[in-house]
Amino acid sequence: MTSQNFFSSRAAQSGAAALAVGFSLMLAGCAGGAPADPGKASATAAEPASPSVTPTPTPTPSAVYKPADATGPAQNVPVPVLPEVAKTETKEGAEAFTKHWFSILSYAYETGDAALFESIAPSPCEACQKVSKVIRDWHSEGRWLVGGKLSTPVSNTTFNKGQDGTYQVAVQVHQEPLSYVRADGTVARTDPQTPDQGNLLVLKYGEGEWSVVELGSIVG
């Protein structure tokens, strides 16, 4: 754990990411593991190649997505791309945008880059602020999060426009158990697996895009 080692591994990582996916991902790379324990990360990166006896060792492409694990934060997490249909004021559009909204939140958990999520979170949103803060704190000073990835098996709206011009979308949200890893690699805590939740997103469409105006849970 020398500063030299730190410098080289970080620089290589961010550089590769930037080349592959662009500037925003470089920021993500920084946020995702800026002061990550370099010794561990580089050791595991080298592992698959060294004990290999195959004559043609295939070097791992640098932009390959790698989820977070006990050895380090996720790498090369693709930035969620808003599908074309999610830009339309249609039932399918509202449902697709809702799924996209959760993939942005999932991206924040994986990378520590909560900026994108904060830009699309409604205000006020206590739950959003809470997770944003935890994500930032636990992706700083060498710490990282494992798990926490979100998926949305079902997104459903009646597509009835309310009097205030909003639409309600019910969404089933699944989250992988979230583990908090300290800079020394010890797991500080793992949140228990919770059942899939029902969330309610209240959406508004304007100027060619959807936005979330309110968010809540569905209790029955």
């Binding site: 500063s3 030299q4 730190f6 410098f7 970080r10 920021l27 920084c30 946020a31 800026a34 002061p35 939140l105 880059d113 900026a115 904060e118 949103c125 206590e126 739950a127 809470k130 935890v134 930032r136 704190d137 636990w138 992706h139 700083s140 000073e141 999060l145 926490g148 979100l150 098996p153 079902v154 459903n156 009646t158 009835n160 309310g162 309600q168 019910a170 089933q172 949200v173 699944h174 989250q175 158990p177 979230l178 908090y180 300290r182 500080a188 805590r189 949140d191 919770t194 059942p195 899939d196 939740q197 029902g198 969330n199 309610l200 968010l215 809540g216 849970s217 569905i218 209790v219 029955g220």
Partner: protein, 309 residues
């Protein structure tokens, strides 16, 4: 180390360009706050589907919340029809047959949020064991009977406390509160061990003078003696004197778990009443004791003058 520190500061500066606030820094060595799992239900109001308005509406805060999920189980390693996953069977939970010969069958529990139309079943917990020749419809059979079983459990409705007691004054606010707690029971249904947890959620006060308050979610609370007589959410002022029987009826919400499976909601609430608590309501009179018995021998407290009541 100094280079690394400098670099991390630089990185954080770069990062801050794109964000609204810099990362919060914890004290050296201390963990930042936990609680990062996504759960808007904890801080934001719940919504329920309103079938008439065909939209979600904020849930009534006076109605105790119920489990937002529904549950089912599947035979472990069952792929559907007559097909089973062979590798899975090899590491299947070993449910030892019971002493009475009942065959143990491992099941996996699934759940899905009730309120989302078309929600899919997702793994919840397990495997756990069921003991029944027809485990497929065991849960519906238990579910059909659990409400009756629940209502017949010796659930303690709670203790009734009145302040002041056992005597109080006509027209004065008498503070009533309940001391009801969560209770757990183990019963046997259809040969399965069923664990029931009963949680008090609503209270109905029958003050014995024809006044009924509730059901409502407050169990009331204790008042320090120097505040007796204050109006509280559950206090009552008797208009007449006499002896009254106060009856507390507590509504409990229950969950049941079958052979250590997940806690499943018991539909409906169980009503349980506490034994009647007697209270005597007296009247109070204000008398002036400042008279001089020499000038007014009939004055209150003078020798030979009748009792107060």
């Amino acid at each position: 180390m100094s280079l690394s520190r400098l670099l991390s500061l630089l990185l954080i500066t770069v990062m801050s360009l794109g964000v609204t606030a810099g990362p919060a820094r914890a004290e050296g060595g201390e963990d930042p706050e936990f609680g990062g799992s996504w759960s808007p239900g904890l801080t934001m109001g719940g919504h329920t589907w309103d079938a008439e308005r065909k939209e979600f509406v904020p849930a009534d805060p006076h109605v105790p919340s119920t489990d937002p999920n529904e549950y089912k189980y599947e035979l472990q390693c069952h792929l559907g029809g007559g097909d089973f996953d062979t590798p899975c069977l090899a590491r299947q939970l070993d449910c030892k047959d019971r002493e009475d010969g009942a065959k143990g069958i491992p099941v996996m529990w699934l759940s899905r949020p009730r309120g989302v139309p078309g929600a899919v079943w997702a793994h919840h917990s397990g495997p756990t064991c069921l003991y029944d020749p027809k485990p497929e419809d065991l849960l519906p059979r238990i579910a059909a009977d659990i409400q009756r079983q629940f209502q017949n459990l010796p659930v303690n409705a709670g203790r009734v406390v009145a302040q002041p007691s056992p005597n109080t004054l006509r027209g004065a606010e008498t503070n009533f509160y309940a001391e009801a707690v969560e209770q757990q029971f183990d019963i046997t249904m259809l040969g399965q061990k069923v664990h029931v947890v009963a949680t008090p959620v609503q209270y109905t006060w029958n003050y014995g003078d024809g006044t009924v308050f509730g059901p409502q979610p407050s169990m009331g609370g204790q008042l320090p003696q120097d505040r007796w007589g204050e109006k509280t959410r559950t206090s009552h002022a008797y208009a007449t004197t006499g002896d009254f029987q106060v009856i507390l009826t507590t509504s409990f919400q229950g969950t049941y778990s079958v052979n250590a499976g997940p806690p499943l909601p018991i539909p409906g609430q169980g009503q349980f009443s506490a034994p009647p608590q007697g209270i005597s309501v007296w009247r109070s009179l204000t008398r002036n004791y400042a008279d001089d018995c020499n000038t007014n021998p009939q004055g209150q407290g003078c020798p030979g003058v009748g009792a107060l009541r």
